[in-house]
């Protein structure tokens, strides 16, 4: 469901997936070399003066500083089956909209504004044809975002819950994102290292981000926006193959701009799916398999448990007792020690897990005292 929250002078659209940014690639042969900012056409060469030996040659990058954001562009050589073609690469961002429209994200309806910005900031000349530009540009590194109003108390629960997110095969690493200055959130992988198998996913406070990192932008264009408790979920689609894995036919700009909110949301769901916690059913199967002890260990485990109950011992004390009464040789005693250590983990996981997680210490102590487990 789409919820529109009205503020005095404008609307912020919440709970609607939209495009925040992407990189576009367009062949120079389509737009014409003469129609791009000339600085990107030159290379910088580092060489040894005495010998004229070239050490390094790199393409110039264009950076246009605007109020609260920058435009980046450069030219790269694309090699397709031996055919080298120059392409202009531009990083586009919803900030180009320079208004509260920023929250709408980049759409096919507001793309003319973005295109005009490129002309106004002289990245492109006004001779570039809009329709041709749309038709021949391709997209990578697409960021899909969705904004929510989530109070801190609930955001804390969300953050904590995502710590438990991991797939059965354990693919996800779970670094906790902390954008500094109190911007806590969660993050899976990062933009640089992400792949279609381990995609980038991030949740953070848009309110804090706009009041710190993007303060100039906020002050210039969003001064009358109520940003209280505004959170953002962001996912990234890397490349054509990644788009196709979501059923998107290709990565042309035309196709991407025509993706509906629903389709963009589906992409977000599928990326979340990579990191969502394993289901109860899966967990049950996994637990059954992983906790199955071999018959020798099971026997030792039972003996230890009975000793604990009859003599009011802790697991550690019962293990020491087992080592003392066992008459095996050095090798056998070492094997028993190893088994006991393994069983100690098993016991802790099995016997204390639920109570340590969910029950107060005083009550837990009472129970374990009753059963003579401590």
């Amino acid at each position: 469901m789409t919820k529109v929250v009205k503020y005095p002078n404008h609307k912020v659209v919440l709970q609607k997936a939209s495009i925040d940014s992407f990189q576009i690639y367009i062949p120079l042969s389509i737009i014409g070399r003469e129609n791009v900012h000339e600085s990107v056409l030159f290379n910088t060469i580092e060489y040894i003066e005495e010998t004229s030996e070239i050490i390094k040659e790199k393409r110039n990058k264009l950076k246009v500083d605007c109020v609260g954001y920058s435009i980046y562009a450069y030219v790269r050589n694309k090699n397709t089956n031996g055919l080298v073609q120059e392409e202009l690469v531009i990083l586009l961002n919803a900030k180009f909209l320079e208004s509260p429209k920023y929250f709408e994200g980049i759409t096919k309806d507001n793309f003319p504004i973005i295109f005009n910005q490129l002309i106004e900031k002289k990245v492109l000349s006004d001779k570039v044809n809009y329709a041709e530009f749309i038709k021949h540009s391709s997209v990578t590194d697409l960021d899909v975002k969705q904004d929510f109003k989530v109070p801190s108390e609930e955001w804390d629960i969300i953050r904590k819950a995502t710590k438990e997110f991991k797939r059965l095969d354990g693919v996800a690493s779970i670094p906790m994102y902390n954008g500094g200055k109190g911007n806590v959130g969660f993050q899976f992988n990062n933009r640089e290292r992400s792949t279609m198998y381990k995609p980038f996913l991030k949740g953070y406070s848009k309110e804090v981000e706009l009041n710190t990192k993007s303060k100039d932008f906020k002050d210039a264009y969003l001064s009358d926006v109520d940003l209280t408790d505004l959170r953002r979920i962001e996912v990234q689609v890397k490349d054509k193959k990644h788009f196709q894995s979501f059923g998107v036919k290709d990565n042309s700009l035309e196709t991407i701009l025509n993706l509906s909110h629903k389709e963009l949301h589906e992409i977000q769901c599928k990326i979340f799916d990579k990191y969502k916690p394993i289901s109860f059913k899966e967990e049950k199967v996994k637990r059954k398999a992983s906790e199955k002890l071999d018959y020798k260990s099971q026997f030792i485990y039972e003996v230890i448990l009975q000793k604990m109950a009859s003599d009011s011992m802790s697991f550690t004390t019962a293990s020491i007792w087992a080592m003392n009464v066992y008459n095996g040789d050095r090798k056998q005693r070492y094997a028993l020690k190893k088994t006991l250590s393994k069983l100690s983990n098993h016991y802790e996981k099995k016997g204390f897990n639920i109570l340590s997680n969910t029950y107060s210490f005083a009550s837990k102590t009472k129970i374990f005292q009753y059963y003579k487990l401590i």
């Binding site: 609930e154 819950a161 438990e164 906790e291 016997g351």
Partner: protein, 99 residues
């Protein structure tokens, strides 16, 4: 005769014997510690009875669930405290993620 000890039984008894105030605290602590919905919390409880320490009978599990449900319905469900968990649940549901 020495009492046979099964951890699953110990855990079951310790939960089942709680009075409603203790059980309310048990559920609320569980939701907080595990950052999960009540549905997920019950699954976590059930998972304690899976594995090598002896599985709990279906009858006992149902009895435990009924008692937990009763306390949840009467003491927790409509409270402001639980509302935030419902909101978080709605948030994750949008992304088809179980909370």
């Amino acid at each position: 005769m020495k009492r046979q000890l099964q951890l699953s039984e110990v855990i079951y008894d310790s939960i089942y014997s709680m009075d409603s105030k203790e059980m309310k605290d048990f559920i609320l602590n569980g939701l907080k510690e595990n950052s999960c919905s009540y549905k997920r919390f019950k699954e976590i409880v059930e998972l304690q009875f899976v594995g090598a320490s002896g599985e709990l009978s279906e009858t006992k599990l149902n009895a435990l669930n009924s008692k937990l449900d009763r306390v949840f319905e009467c003491e927790i469900k409509g409270t402001k405290e639980y509302q935030k968990y419902q909101n978080v649940n709605a948030f994750f549901n949008q992304f088809k993620v179980q909370f």
